[in-house]
C-alpha cells in the first residue's frame, strides 16, 4: 500500500452486535474491514492464532485473548482456567511453547472477593500445570452494572518449537485432517449451564492445555505438519473454512469419523444445532502430510487425553475454498463458517 494514502475502512455495520464476537463471518468482517486496515498496516491477510515476530534474530510468538464467559464457573472449569489454557493453546497451535503470561482484570464493583480469589487460584493452578508463569498484569474496577462480574484478558509470549513450519499455503491435496478429541463439549456445557433451555446432561467443558499433544506431534512428525488451529468460537467448521479460504483448496470431512460424545449429539439434535459450529476449548485441528497421518495418531495416543484423536478428513482440489461434509452413504453438504451465534431452532 503506498505511503500516505488513508486506509480504506470496509466495515459498514451501523452498530456492534453479538454476532461480531461469535467468531464467524461477522467477526471476520469486523477484523478485515476495521481493525486490519487501521491497525495491521492493511495486512490482515490471513488470520492466525498468534503473531510471529522476529526480534534480534529470535522468533517469538505473541497472542492475546479476552474471556467474558457466563456463567463464571461451569462443569469442567471456570473463566480463570479458560483464560490460561486459551492463550497457551493459541501459542501452541501456532507452533510455540508459552514462556510467560500477562493478565488484565476488569472487575465489577461489588464482585465478592471470594469469587475473584477462586478465579485467581484457578489461573495459578492452570499455569502451574502447564509450567508457565505470570509476569505481570493490570486491574481496573468499573461501576456496578458496567461489566458482568469479571472479564479477563491474557497475553502470552512463547518461543517457537523447533522443527515446525506452519502455513496454510503449505497445505496440499492429499493431506489429512485430524482432530485431537471429541467436539462440542465446551459450547454445549456452557449453553446448558446458562439454564435457559432446561436441559441437563453429564457434560463438562473440555478446557485443557493442548501443548503436550502439540509437542508430541512436533517430536514425531514435526516437518510433516502443515497447519494447526484451535476451534474455539465458531467451531470446527469455522476454523476449517478459514483454512479453505486461505489455501484455496477443499477440506473433505467424513461425518461419521468426527468424534463426538453422545450427549453433545443429543443436545444438538434437540436444539437443531450443528456440532461443527460449537465452541471447543481443549481441542485442536491439525493438517499433516498423508504419509505422516498414522504416526501423528500414534503420537496423540502417547499423551493422556489424546486417545480420542481421529483422522477426520482430507484435503482435495475441489470444490475450491469450501468445506464439504460427506455422509456414509454418499451424500454431501457444504458447511459454511458460522454466521452469528448458533441459535436453537424448532423448524
Amino acid at each position: 500500500m503506498p505511503n500516505g494514502s488513508p486506509p480504506r475502512i470496509r466495515f459498514r455495520d451501523p452498530q456492534i452486535e453479538m454476532s461480531h464476537g461469535a467468531g464467524g463471518k461477522a467477526t471476520r468482517r469486523l477484523i478485515d474491514g476495521l481493525f486490519a486496515p487501521l491497525l495491521l498496516n492493511g495486512s490482515g491477510s490471513h488470520l492466525s492464532d498468534a503473531a510471529i515476530l522476529e526480534i534480534d534474530g529470535v522468533r517469538i510468538a505473541l497472542t492475546t485473548d479476552g474471556f467474558v464467559v457466563t456463567p463464571l464457573v461451569f462443569p469442567g472449569g471456570s473463566i480463570g482456567e479458560l483464560a490460561v489454557n486459551g492463550t497457551v493453546n493459541d501459542l501452541a497451535v501456532s507452533g510455540a511453547r508459552a514462556s510467560a503470561l500477562l493478565t488484565t482484570f476488569v472487575l465489577e464493583e461489588g464482585l465478592p472477593s471470594a469469587v475473584l480469589e477462586a478465579e485467581v487460584r484457578a489461573m495459578a493452578a492452570a499455569a502451574q500445570r502447564i509450567g508457565v508463569h505470570f509476569v505481570g498484569g493490570d486491574t481496573k474496577v468499573v461501576e456496578h452494572g458496567k461489566v458482568d462480574q469479571l472479564y479477563i484478558t491474557t497475553t502470552g509470549v512463547g518461543r517457537m518449537i523447533p522443527g515446525l513450519s506452519l502455513s496454510p499455503h503449505s497445505v496440499r491435496p492429499g493431506d489429512r485432517v485430524l482432530v485431537s478429541g471429541p467436539i462440542g463439549d465446551h459450547g454445549i456445557t456452557i449453553l446448558l449451564a446458562r439454564g435457559e433451555l432446561d436441559l441437563e446432561a453429564d457434560l463438562r467443558s473440555d478446557t485443557r492445555s493442548v501443548l503436550p499433544m502439540v509437542e508430541a506431534l512436533a517430536a514425531a512428525v514435526g516437518p510433516s505438519i502443515r497447519w494447526m488451529r484451535d476451534p474455539t468460537r465458531g467451531g470446527v467448521a469455522t476454523s476449517l473454512n478459514e483454512l479453505a479460504l486461505d489455501c484455496g483448496l477443499a477440506i473433505h470431512i467424513a461425518e461419521e469419523l468426527v468424534p463426538m460424545r453422545d450427549e453433545v449429539r443429543g443436545a444438538c439434535e434437540i436444539l437443531g444445532l450443528d456440532p461443527l459450529h460449537i465452541a471447543n476449548e481443549g481441542q485442536f485441528l491439525v493438517v499433516v502430510d498423508r504419509l505422516a497421518a498414522d504416526a501423528a495418531l500414534v503420537a496423540f495416543g502417547t499423551v493422556p487425553g489424546g486417545e480420542m484423536a481421529r483422522i477426520i478428513g482430507e484435503v482435495r482440489e475441489t470444490p475450491a475454498s469450501c468445506v464439504l461434509v460427506t455422509t456414509p452413504y454418499g451424500g454431501s453438504r457444504i458447511v459454511d463458517m458460522l454466521v452469528g451465534d448458533p441459535l436453537p431452532r424448532i423448524c
Partner: protein, 93 residues
C-alpha cells in the same frame, strides 16, 4: 415446524403428573405429556418430542416393520438381478 426427535421417558415428575423427564442420547429435559392424555405413556416408553411437548408415542413394532420392508428391498433387488441374469443366459443359448 418439523424438528421433532425421539426420546425415552425415564421418569415422571412427581408434582406434575403430566410432566416427564425424557432422555435423548444422555440429555434430559422435562417434557409435557399433555397432548398424549388420551393414551398416557410412562417410563420406558418412547415419544416424539417437539418444543418441549410429546406429540406421539413411537411404535417399536411399526419401526421394526418398516426396517424389515426396507431390508427386503435389498433382497428383492438381488433376487431380481439374479433372475435377469438367468433370462439373458437363456436368451444367449
Amino acid at each position: 415446524m418439523c424438528l421433532a426427535i425421539p426420546g425415552l421417558i425415564v421418569s415422571l415428575v412427581p408434582e406434575f403428573q403430566r410432566l416427564a423427564v425424557v432422555e435423548v442420547s444422555g440429555v434430559r429435559r422435562r417434557v409435557d405429556l399433555g397432548l398424549l392424555e388420551d393414551d398416557m405413556p410412562g417410563p420406558g416408553d418412547w415419544v416424539l418430542i417437539h418444543v418441549g411437548f410429546a406429540m406421539s408415542r413411537i411404535s417399536q413394532h411399526e419401526a421394526e416393520e418398516q426396517m424389515r420392508l426396507l431390508r427386503m428391498l435389498g433382497e428383492e433387488g438381488a433376487a431380481i438381478e439374479e433372475i435377469r441374469g438367468y433370462d439373458s443366459a437363456v436368451q444367449d443359448v
